[in-house]
Symmetry: C2
DNA sequence: ATATAACGTGTATTTTTTACACTAAGTAAT
DNA sequence: ATTACTTAGTGTAAAAAATACACGTTATAT
């Protein structure tokens, strides 16, 4: 029982800022807490890290338990270690952002009882949140605004096949500004990582757009890890 | 004694990647450990976080204890939470990078006994390090390579008054590539945050260069927080 | 057939980035 | 004082990237 030694008296938690795109709006995932502290409050999905799992593993597990979602793109972005952030003691929280394609078929089912409910809410219609989660959310948003310019994160938010207009919409929502259509297309295509498909959108009123796929292999080959969108 | 509850069995530590510039080379600070585990090994300056201090406070305290240095520019960059990274139990480490002007006058005096010695070593002549510190160092280096392009970090490494050639040298060392002198000057001056002084270098053989100061007020006013060096 | 709404495209202008080499100024040695 | 040496300091032309801007095309719905 090594951990009984002095100094082993912190709790570690994970909090996730989970972004989703439903074709129209940028959403984040919130849970409704079913336990104290902050019972009945909305909060970022999060929980304690177990002592026998790595922090990255823990993040995946926690997201899965609270939402039923697995294989989600996640990345650590900051650790929140202020003194009074948790009323039950010294809890330091490692925050992750996550991104996923939001298709109607994926129901959100918390696999644990401490969250009674999980729900997508529009990024700019977030209610008051438990703990310092408001702050963590803001930092997460700032972070992806920057990261989205250097990493092909937006494709995590889009379905496998997407139109260029959808890509542009996601960028506009994240960066929170309008982009010029022609210039945007010129630029995104200039990276040569989108594969034009022999296929059009289906089920839309009005003219259907061409579908594209993100070519991950080509991206890795061309850019290693970084780029400038 | 809230922290006796289940879950409060992590230790938290801070590790610092401290960069210094001595006018010629980019250095990082290492300590020689005087205690187990890894007694006699070189390591990044770091130690346990106390339960009654914030993570940021802890980082400053620890750096001060190990080196005698205070008021150093520090920023958190990643949290290392793998399972087996510490032989004595579950220790999760929050890593910071730090930057400071390395002038001869500042002697390094560890104020604690667990480090027997603190020393600046050239970034590309680092010996084998304790724990996962090699890895943390690499990540720290990657991080500042990116951050230095968006934040005026280099001025933390330089003396208050510096020449443009010195600025260029620091950028070249961090980015690890040669820059064109005329283009560099054009660009750095175009930001309008360097104030040309009525003063020249002293004590150099050969022609003395004009000294400049970084105008922090102007930087904040013009750019808020970000820029693209 | 017609109205509708989003699709998809090109060019000219401005701005930014890159490439490139010599003279000026101060120090040190003779 | 002359000379040799070393770093400081400067401009321009070409290429590349970013920006501004508008209309004919196409599939759908009525």
């Amino acid at each position: 029982m090594k951990n009984i030694q002095q100094g082993f008296n912190f709790a570690l938690s994970i909090d996730c800022v989970v972004f989703g795109f439903d074709g129209t709006a940028l959403k984040i995932l919130l849970i409704e807490r079913n336990e104290d502290p902050f019972k009945d409050w909305w909060a970022l999905p999060g929980n304690r890290v177990n002592v026998d799992e790595s922090v990255d593993q823990s993040a995946s597990r926690i997201l899965k338990e609270l939402t039923g979602l697995s294989d989600v793109y996640m990345e650590q972005f900051y650790t929140f270690g202020e003194l009074k952030r948790h009323p039950q003691g010294r809890v330091v929280s490692v925050a992750y952002y996550a991104m996923l394609r939001l298709s109607g078929e994926k129901p959100l089912k918390p696999l644990t009882t401490f969250a009674r409910n999980a729900q997508w809410v529009n990024v700019n219609q977030v209610p008051e949140l438990a703990f310092d989660h408001q702050y963590i959310l803001e930092k997460g948003l700032e972070k992806i605004k920057r990261r989205v310019r250097h990493l092909p994160l937006v494709f995590e938010l889009l379905p496998e096949k997407f139109t260029l207009t959808q890509v542009q919409n996601v960028y506009e929502l994240i960066l929170n500004k309008k982009l010029d259509k022609r210039n945007f297309r010129k630029k995104i295509l200039s990276f040569k990582v989108l594969k034009e498909l022999d296929e059009k959108q289906r089920g839309v009123s009005f003219r259907a757009a061409t579908l594209y796929k993100f070519d991950k292999r080509k991206y890795n080959k061309l850019y290693g890890k970084e780029i400038s969108f």
